[in-house]
């Protein structure tokens, strides 16, 4: 049992990372990585949705018939997203004003759907919950990394406005690395998202090759 959980954790965070290996969920990845804080917020919201929907789908997996499974998954994900959306609006209103537009889009993110179909629909409850959490954390990791690179290069800051997301105690995370007029504007704009995401995929592959792992070429199935 323990090895199974170990695999789930390692798959989610690194080996089978949603963004850097499977290239899933590219739309929120491009849209929400203009800063590390945005990436972190979007990632955490997605992680919550993935964990909750993984749990629910796994609980009802014997009841959901093959024919209607996709609509049912979508409905479950949509319900979870609405919960996250409303809670963020209520308790993290400042951040909601920044991320709000994109939170409903988690429904159309294909990473949760892919994990439900590939994992939660077949596995028991606890592993499904774990898979949702760690796939979500891997997603968060990738989005925060991409956001950090774009933010440093484009605006010269790191984790700006992090206190909005995590509370005033996290003010210390907000860093100013250089004056904002020195930033490369393009990195904040859409081309920067594609460039940095692509380069980080390369970095991950280089690290994997160094570690002697066999990398899957052309592992991308779809992108949404």
């Amino acid at each position: 049992m323990a090895t199974q959980y170990k695999t789930i954790v390692r798959d989610g965070l690194w080996d089978n990372n949603g963004v850097l290996s499977m290239l899933l969920g590219m739309c929120p990845t491009m849209a929400m990585t203009t800063s590390a804080t945005n990436g972190l917020g979007m990632g955490l919201a997605t992680a919550v949705v993935m964990a909750a929907s993984g749990l629910l789908v796994s609980m009802f997996r014997s009841r959901i018939t093959q024919e209607v499974r996709i609509p049912v998954y979508i409905l479950i994900v949509a319900a979870m997203v609405t919960l996250v959306d409303l809670s963020m609006n209520a308790w993290m209103h400042e951040l909601y004003k920044v991320l709000g537009l994109f939170i409903p889009l988690i429904v159309s993110n294909c990473l949760p759907l892919a994990r439900l179909e590939a994992f939660a629909a077949k596995e028991p409850v606890l592993p499904s919950l774990m898979d949702g959490i760690f796939m979500g954390m891997g997603f968060t990791l990738a989005l925060t990394a991409i956001g950090a690179v774009r933010e440093i290069a484009g605006a010269g800051t790191l984790f700006a406005d992090a206190s909005l997301l995590l509370g005033p105690a996290f003010k210390f995370m907000e860093m100013k690395l250089m004056s904002p007029d020195k930033g490369v504007l393009m990195m904040i704009l859409p081309p920067g998202g594609f460039l940095v995401a692509g380069l980080l995929v390369v970095v991950k592959r280089i690290l994997d090759v160094r570690a002697g792992k066999a990398i899957q070429m052309g592992g991308a199935h779809s992108a949404a």
Partner: protein, 343 residues
């Protein structure tokens, strides 16, 4: 041994690219005459950066250095980029643009022959999106600025970023003729009055119109040497002329005469040197006509209705995206078949 006098060796890439560089010389000479030698500094910087980046990328990709470094294609990219950005731009701007053009736009796509986009225009687009304020340091042409910088002063500004005391940047630089036209029209000044401003010459901008003539000279040489065909320049300039002409005819008070658009900005450089790039352009004659006509139309639209000072770079990149589609639909029928469907 009998050798027919009509058989000639096919041109190598290196020789073709060398001729393109040669053809740029009249334009560059006129540029130096009107704007001073600062452009030579950016061309040199761009060339060194291009060769160094090319060598580094070839090493990373495990390709042989010699045949690729000697093919002069990196130099063409470097020169075209240097000619597209302001001569007084800080040194790192040229270096960043050229390095990006060669490493990302050329080598990440597979090197010479595989890049879908014109590398020098990618370099330009990156620079104007990332560093818009540094891309406005256009020198005022000879005899127009209140003060003129000597070569030493220009060097000091490019590498050190400071001007001789008492001289402000505004005194030695000017908005480009296209830019001035756009901003002044937005201020509701009548077109006649704007064109009477001292920066305008007989056709377009004083100085820059003559440089454009220099590019035409180089273009004619390339046509004569059969390195480029007539299709791209004719379709590009023709469409630009006709589009500008229609707007001018309908509303003469707000739309400038078509000849202005032909000689302003990068139109001539684009027509003969940028859009004619054999790698990122289409392969068939019909395709070239469609490609260049689209670029001419887009250039006009971006210049007149867009937010950027010139439209040639973005028009080129947008049409580069269409090239696979254009190529797929303009394949001539296979010999012996009537229809095009030769699949």
């Amino acid at each position: 041994m009998l050798i027919s006098t009509f058989i000639s060796k096919p041109d190598t890439v290196s020789a073709i690219m060398l001729r393109v560089l040669l053809a740029l010389l009249p334009g560059i000479a006129l540029y130096v005459w009107y704007y001073g030698p600062a452009i030579l500094v950016s061309i040199t910087l761009a060339s060194i950066t291009a060769l160094a980046t090319e060598a580094a990328m070839l090493r990373l990709r495990n390709r042989p250095l010699k045949p690729f470094l000697g093919d002069n294609s990196a130099l063409v990219t470097a020169w075209l980029l240097a000619l597209s950005i302001p001569p007084l731009a800080p040194w790192w701007l040229v270096v960043v643009g050229t390095a990006f053009a060669i490493s990302v736009a050329k080598h990440l796509y597979g090197g010479l022959g595989n890049n879908p986009f014109n590398p020098s225009m990618i370099g330009y687009a990156v620079l104007i999106i990332s560093f818009p304020s540094h891309m406005t340091h256009w020198l005022s042409p000879h005899g127009l600025g209140q003060t003129e910088l000597g070569f030493a002063d220009q060097l000091a500004f490019i590498f050190g970023g400071h001007l001789p005391s008492g001289i402000k940047l505004d005194a030695v630089t000017l908005a480009t003729p296209l830019d001035t036209l756009k901003t002044q029209l937005q201020l509701d000044r009548p077109l006649k009055e704007i064109l009477g401003m001292p920066i305008y010459g007989a056709l377009a901008g004083k100085g820059s119109e003559v440089v454009a003539l220099g590019y035409i000279l180089g273009g004619v040489y390339l046509l004569f040497k059969r390195i480029i065909t007539w299709h791209v320049p004719a379709a590009f300039l023709g469409t630009l002329f006709v589009t500008a002409g229609i707007f001018h005819l309908v509303d003469q008070a707000h739309y400038v005469a078509p000849l202005f658009h032909l000689t302003a900005g990068a139109a001539m450089l684009g027509a003969f040197f940028i859009l004619t790039d054999p790698i990122s352009g289409p392969t068939t004659p019909m395709g070239k006509l469609i490609f260049a006509a689209g670029a001419g139309f887009l250039t006009y639209v971006i210049r007149v209705f867009g937010g950027f000072p010139d439209g040639v770079a973005f028009a080129t990149l947008l049409m580069n995206i269409c090239v696979p589609l254009i190529d797929a639909h303009t394949q001539p029928p296979v010999f012996g078949k009537k229809d095009r469907g030769a699949k």
